[in-house]
């Protein structure tokens, strides 16, 4: 029977030879990721109420990223609770190392073919590794931690192919904003999105993570990229084992719900106007909108390669008068690498302010939340009203290149004008 990649992973996790789209099955979870916000402080009381412990502490991956650096009394107390729970349970704990969606792949623990859940909506990021990973809420996570199982309605697959090659100045973020604009925030219909095509195959693992991460903004349950030699090389680079990848792909002729094809070669840098990622348009059609805050941060917008891209624009340039550039590298590992390669020095020389390796203002936390009426351009994934600060703040989304270019110009601009 011809199956999609999503069906193959679910069938294996459900102990079945094959599964059919639409049926509800109970699957065994290979890995459960939780963070300080939706994690211990919310699941521990439920586990206590149920009177049970963890089904398997070695399959639980805990990251502190939401309340880091714990600079408020409440934040500090939530972090303290998180650390105590980690000690008591003995789960794998990455404390203050960065945002969970980046720290997990960097740990080498997430394997292609895994059936995994995360207590955060951007958990589809794991799909970049060829894992069926999706986000769930805290109560459902408590159920997983107690039983090791979860129900799943076997999704259809929406296949999105990008042919050709992205031009210089284009990034995975541009692909995703264009897709949000074309398909809408419910275009994914809570099905499995699978990215294919030569432009996707040519992307690095970190760029693929941006695609899979923003499957959330497309309304998909997960966003898969079939594992290949890029995946294997990444796994080796982080010290992870490389499983047999030979069957981890959608079979030729397997039934899919929708097939979309887009031309990467024709894509121009994108921005999304407030207050939805679906308000996408080419950057040069944004009417040179003036910005006063530029934010390079979050799981989807401040990984090593995002920082490297922004530095291409910022090298030898200064911020426009009245513009504040905030940089919150996604992980400590990525920031360390960027420091070694002189990238962080470029940010410093340009006048940027560097913030902790945490979710920060993308999740509405921290001291840099946007003031009333501020216009910001951000490399993050979502620009919902009031998410990053006051309800009257205006957030545009763009790639790290586009954010950096706006910080230099003082207004939204096609970043290709600044690349030589």
């Amino acid at each position: 029977m011809k199956q999609t990649l999503a069906q193959k992973i679910i069938a294996r996790a459900a102990g079945r030879d094959h599964v059919t789209a639409g049926e509800v099955v109970t699957a065994k979870v290979d890995l459960a990721m939780i963070h300080d916000s939706g994690g211990p402080r919310r699941v521990a009381p439920i586990l206590k109420e149920l009177g049970v412990g963890l089904w398997d502490k070695d399959k639980v991956f805990l990251v502190s990223d939401h309340f880091v650096p714990g600079d408020t009394e409440e934040g500090a107390s939530i972090l303290a609770l998180t650390r105590t729970w980690a000690r008591d349970t003995g789960v794998r704990f990455h404390d203050g190392q960065g945002i969970c969606h980046v720290v997990l792949p960097e740990s080498g623990q997430l394997q292609p073919g895994m059936f995994a859940v995360g207590g955060d909506s951007h958990s589809p990021t794991g799909g970049a590794m060829g894992a069926f990973m999706f986000g769930i809420g805290a109560t459902e996570m408590a159920g997983v931690l107690a039983t090791g199982e979860i129900w799943v309605k076997v999704p259809e697959t929406i296949r999105i192919a990008w042919t050709g090659q992205l031009g210089d100045g284009l990034m995975a973020k541009d692909i995703m904003l264009a897709l949000c604009g074309r398909l809408g925030m419910d275009g994914g219909k809570y099905q499995a999105i699978e990215y294919t095509g030569e432009a996707i195959k040519a992307l690095s693992m970190q760029e693929r993570m941006t695609l899979s991460n923003m499957a959330a903004e497309l309304g998909g349950q997960t966003g898969l990229v079939a594992p290949d030699e890029v995946t294997a090389a990444f796994l080796r680079s982080v010290g992870g084992a490389v499983p047999d990848l030979s069957d981890l792909h959608t079979d030729e002729g397997a039934e899919v719900l929708e097939d979309h094809t887009f031309d990467a070669t024709a894509l121009a840098p994108q921005v999304a106007a407030p207050h939805s990622p679906a308000n996408a348009m080419p950057a040069d059609e944004a009417g040179k909108t003036a910005v006063s805050v530029a934010y390079i941060g979050a799981c989807t917008g401040a990984k090593y390669e995002d920082l490297q891209a922004a530095a291409r624009i910022l090298k030898g340039r200064k911020l426009a008068a009245g513009v504040e550039l905030l940089v919150a590298p996604s992980s400590k590992r990525d920031q360390d690498r960027a420091t070694q390669e002189g990238i962080m020095a470029v940010f410093e020389a340009a006048g940027a302010k560097v913030l902790p390796n945490a979710c920060g203002i993308c999740a509405g936390y921290g001291t840099h939340r946007l003031d009333a009426d501020v216009t910001c351009i951000s490399s993050t994934a979502r620009n919902f009203k009031g998410r990053m600060g006051e309800a009257s703040s205006q957030v545009w989304l763009g790639s790290p290149l586009t954010v950096a270019a706006a910080a230099v110009a003082g207004h939204i601009v096609d970043p290709r004008e600044m690349l030589s």
């Binding site: 149920l50 986000g135 809420g137 459902e140 408590a142 309605k153 419910d186 809570y190 979502r382």
Partner: protein, 167 residues
């Protein structure tokens, strides 16, 4: 129980339902600010028995279940929408908040008096005297809601397993 309908548009997101800036606090604090970015008086005026009706993709965005919990805390009896974001849908079921898909909400107006029958899959517009047929919920999910959410549902299951072991 009869209540009033609060009608919303498409893509009502989790930041509107449970604003990030109040997430440090408990559900009491979060619920006070539920939907205030788009309807400032909502949390103050909604009463037990009221029903939220919305367009497509209700609950888009974050996995924070406080989005569904805030509505339950305000004693909204259920949410009816043209479609739901996947995680929100799961969270609502797990918290025991009835959540139903309507093929059309064209007949529904803000402020209508109505009753919601999750079991029968009907939204009764009592002022108008008409019914809106809703898609029936899958049986296994109805069981979770009828037990009051996933935690009481699991409690039952764990108790049954213990009983099984004891015997």
């Amino acid at each position: 129980m009869s209540g009033r309908i609060f009608l919303f548009g498409d893509d009502i997101d989790t930041d509107q339902l449970a604003p990030g800036q109040y997430m440090r606090g408990g559900i009491e604090a979060i619920a006070t600010h539920c939907l205030e970015a788009i309807r400032p008086e909502f949390a103050q005026t909604v009463r037990p028995g009221d029903i939220v009706v919305a367009g497509r993709n209700f609950g888009a965005g974050s996995s924070r279940e406080q989005a569904a919990e805030a509505l339950r805390h305000l004693q909204v009896v259920g949410v009816v929408a043209l479609s739901f974001a996947g995680i929100f849908y799961r969270n609502a079921v797990n918290l025991g908040l009835p959540i139903l898909i309507a093929p059309s909400i064209d007949d529904v107006a803000d402020g209508d008096t109505a009753t919601l029958d999750p079991e029968g899959g009907v939204l009764r517009l009592t002022t108008k005297g008409t019914d809106v047929a809703l898609e029936p919920m899958p049986e296994n999910l109805r069981a979770i809601i009828n037990n009051g959410g996933l935690v009481p549902h699991l409690k039952k299951r764990i108790a049954a397993e213990h009983k099984g072991t004891a015997e």
